[in-house]
């Protein structure tokens, strides 16, 4: 059992607030990703959980127990860093066995667990290799295996895949997820890569400038971003975010996209919520895969635009559109053909149009 509870957790370095009053509940056996750009406070948060950094304020509880006076080496926490910390003078087998030997486990147990871990990490045929001969990918597997083998109750991983090549990263993502299902550990995973977070985590804590922006399941965070930052950070290509104004009144509201024309809004409730911001600009958001492309004659809510660029990327074709200064991307299927310079309409998807307050960035609703 190992749940983690962070309450009002704050870390200041001189004038800089790295983490500001963070509240976060991580359930036992949960896989939580701390996601954000560099400088968002994710690594500092993890270091405080590990006991490497001391909080300026706030509490860290493991299963309700205050960790303030518990030093890092007594927290039963496994740690894997981006720069794999392994003993370069030892073989793969010795590296894997190290954490168990320090605990004076019987030799037979050590051998059995090393063999099992080697099999899990597909390192069987590398066991007697000196680590100096391993590839970067294999080194990181050893580093993860070395930490996982001690079966810590809490496993902290700081960008463990970011030095690996793309194909191997995708492979390791699945391995890690599977590893967690097997070991049933509580995992906290720091990353700046939203795909990794989406793919691995039960819940994602999106952070920016030391502040928690949203905490929820990958699909929640993706489908219902709470503000412009989260909307923009999740997804690749990212959500289209274009300025617009709410125009009209008395039951006939429309979103005015300037050179992109205007589109009527059907959602009564949304209109009510937008009313406060009626004279201010809004930010309209739609995911590239939710927008569709129609010929200029199309009826219904749409933004008029010109095709500026077409990227065929394997299973998808990303079509870039411009409506004056407003830029958008639409994700279409394989081998979608359209001419550069073509005049089109970007069709607004009912139920998947996000509106944000332009000033605060806060989500007003989905229409």
């Amino acid at each position: 059992m190992a749940s983690i509870s962070l309450a009002g957790l704050t870390k200041r370095f001189g004038d800089l607030t790295a983490v500001a009053s963070l509240d976060l509940e991580i359930r036992d056996k949960e896989f939580v990703a701390l996601l954000g750009p560099s400088g968002c406070g994710k690594t500092t948060t993890m270091n405080m959980i590990a006991g490497i950094e001391t909080p300026s304020e706030g509490q860290i509880l493991f299963d309700g127990r205050d960790m303030r006076t518990v030093p890092a080496n007594r927290r039963k926490v496994g740690f894997v860093f981006q720069n794999y910390a392994i003993f370069t003078h030892l073989s793969v087998r010795e590296n894997l066995a190290f954490g168990l030997k320090v605990r004076s486990l019987p030799k037979a147990d050590v051998e059995r667990r090393v063999a099992a871990m080697a099999q899990l990490m597909r390192l069987e045929d590398r066991l007697d290799w000196p680590t100096a001969k391993l590839s970067v990918n294999e080194l990181q597997k050893v580093a993860i295996g070395r930490s996982a083998i001690t079966e810590p109750e809490i496993f902290l991983l700081d960008e463990p895949l970011s030095n690996l090549d793309a194909a191997f990263r995708a492979f390791m993502r699945t391995e890690l997820k599977h590893l967690q299902h097997q070991f049933q550990q509580t995992m906290v995973y720091v990353t700046h890569d939203q795909i990794e977070a989406m793919s691995l985590a039960d819940r994602i804590a999106v952070m920016d400038l030391g502040v928690l922006q949203q905490y929820g399941s990958p699909i929640e965070v993706y489908n219902e971003p709470r503000n412009v930052f989260v909307a923009n950070f999740m997804g690749s290509p990212s959500m289209n975010l274009v300025p617009c104004r709410l125009a009209g009144g008395d039951g006939a509201y429309a979103l005015d996209f300037g050179e992109g024309g205007s589109a009527s809004v059907a959602d009564e409730d949304l209109k009510r919520r937008c009313k406060a911001a009626r004279d201010a600009t809004l930010v309209f958001g739609a995911r590239p895969e939710d927008l569709d492309i129609a010929p200029p004659g199309h009826d219904g809510p749409a933004i008029e635009a010109t095709v500026t660029f077409v990227e065929p990327i394997g299973p998808r074709t990303i079509v870039h559109l411009a409506a004056g200064e407003r830029r958008m991307k639409v994700a279409k299927g394989k081998q979608y053909g359209i001419e550069l310079g073509a005049r089109v309409k970007a069709v607004l998807p009912p139920g998947k149009c996000h509106l944000f307050d332009a000033e605060t960035g806060v989500a007003l609703g989905i229409a």
Binding site: T174, M198, P218
Partner: protein, 359 residues
């Protein structure tokens, strides 16, 4: 801008083959990507073109003329490296002007040219800033601008945006493509990122161990890979391969996977590997009786928002399926995979050569 050509070019370092028998024509105004894993010879091709090394065999021509013994200066090609080397003590504008100052151009001409290039790259507001005060993307634009001011015969770019973060890389590749279109440049672009190559290139050369394995448009390379090697390198998540045997009459039987598919146009019995892209496999509910289907179990689910990557275990193998949207599955759920034989490639089990393409 000029057409570039390598004819049967080879370069050895002692016994090590850097590149061998390279036949390559980069057309005038073409955006040509050289793609491959590390040490597959990508950069050597740039060095040969640039004149930094001479080929041991073969010929190189630029704009239709053999360049033979010409040194880098005479060839007038511009190079952009990954580690952009801006002079830290000069402003962005001075950095841009540097190649022209070095060539002793008149001051007025330099100012005009720098202004013109800055305009094209949308960096006019940055001209008075020092490199230390620029973001990574801005610095890369200045570095590209510095190559641009010279009006070279062609641009050679070696992983020019690899050091930038993912979001910025996506923006920069669109920007580079726009520049190339607007200015009608010939660009030879080295990358190890298949998505970047697919997105940006008019044509791609896929390298393996110093040799070119396939040249084609992004769509050709993606849809009709000519070998298992190319099929494995292009696409993320990668193509699924099922090893097995091809019987006379074109029926493929999987070895570790209980899969049997009739493939029209597949000749030659023997060991073979069936290959199918993750987006070309459908997931149906268990028990549905599709022809080329196979029973499977949901092993892992990666919801990525726009699509969902599902790992399914079939026999002793894990296959990756990319399903559109946000379908819901539970781990351990029994399903049936739908395989369209027309979407399957078949490669030789030993050589990896193509036996039959998808239709």
């Amino acid at each position: 801008m000029a057409r570039l050509e390598l004819r049967n070019a080879s370069k050895y370092y002692g016994k090590t083959v850097a590149v061998r028998n390279i036949d390559l024509v980069v057309e005038d105004n073409e955006f040509f990507c050289i793609f491959g894993p590390p040490s597959s010879g990508k950069t050597t091709i740039l060095r040969l073109l640039l004149g930094l090394v001479a080929p041991d065999e073969g010929e190189i021509s630029i704009g239709g003329e053999a360049v033979g013994e010409q040194g880098p200066k005479e060839r007038n090609l511009a190079m952009v490296f990954q580690n952009l080397a801006l002079f830290p003590h000069m402003t962005a504008g001075q950095n841009l002007a540097f190649p022209l100052v070095e060539r002793k151009l008149e001051k007025a001409a330099i100012t005009a040219r720098v202004a013109e290039v800055a305009e094209t790259l949308h960096i006019t507001p940055l001209l008075d800033k020092m490199p230390a005060h620029l973001s990574g993307g801005e610095r890369q634009r200045v570095a590209i601008g510095r190559a641009l001011v010279r009006d070279p015969a062609a641009f050679l770019m070696d992983e020019p945006i690899a050091a930038l973060d993912a979001r910025l890389r996506e923006e920069m590749r669109v920007e580079l493509k726009r520049l190339q279109r607007e200015l009608h440049h010939t660009i030879v672009y080295v990358t190890h990122d298949q998505e970047e190559a697919m997105s940006i290139a008019d044509r791609i050369a896929v390298m393996e161990a110093g040799e070119i394995r396939q040249i084609g448009t992004p769509a050709e390379i993606y849809n009709l890979p000519n070998s298992r090697y190319v099929a494995e390198l292009i696409g993320a998540p990668p193509m699924n391969f099922v090893d097995g045997t091809l019987a006379d009459g074109g029926r493929f039987e999987g070895r570790d996977v209980p899969l049997s598919v009739a493939l029209e146009g597949a000749d030659g019995a023997g060991p073979a590997a069936l290959a199918v892209r993750p987006e070309d496999i459908g997931i149906d509910s268990a028990g549905s009786g599709n022809g080329a289907g196979v029973d499977a179990e949901i092993f892992e689910v990666e919801p990525l928002g726009a699509f969902t990557i599902v790992d399914v275990s079939v026999g002793e193998r894990i296959l990756k399926v990319q399903a559109p949207g946000q379908p819901r599955f539970t781990l351990g759920e029994q399903v049936r995979l739908a395989l369209d034989p027309d979407r399957c490639h078949l490669f030789h089990g030993e050589t990896g050569d193509l036996i039959r393409s998808a239709r």
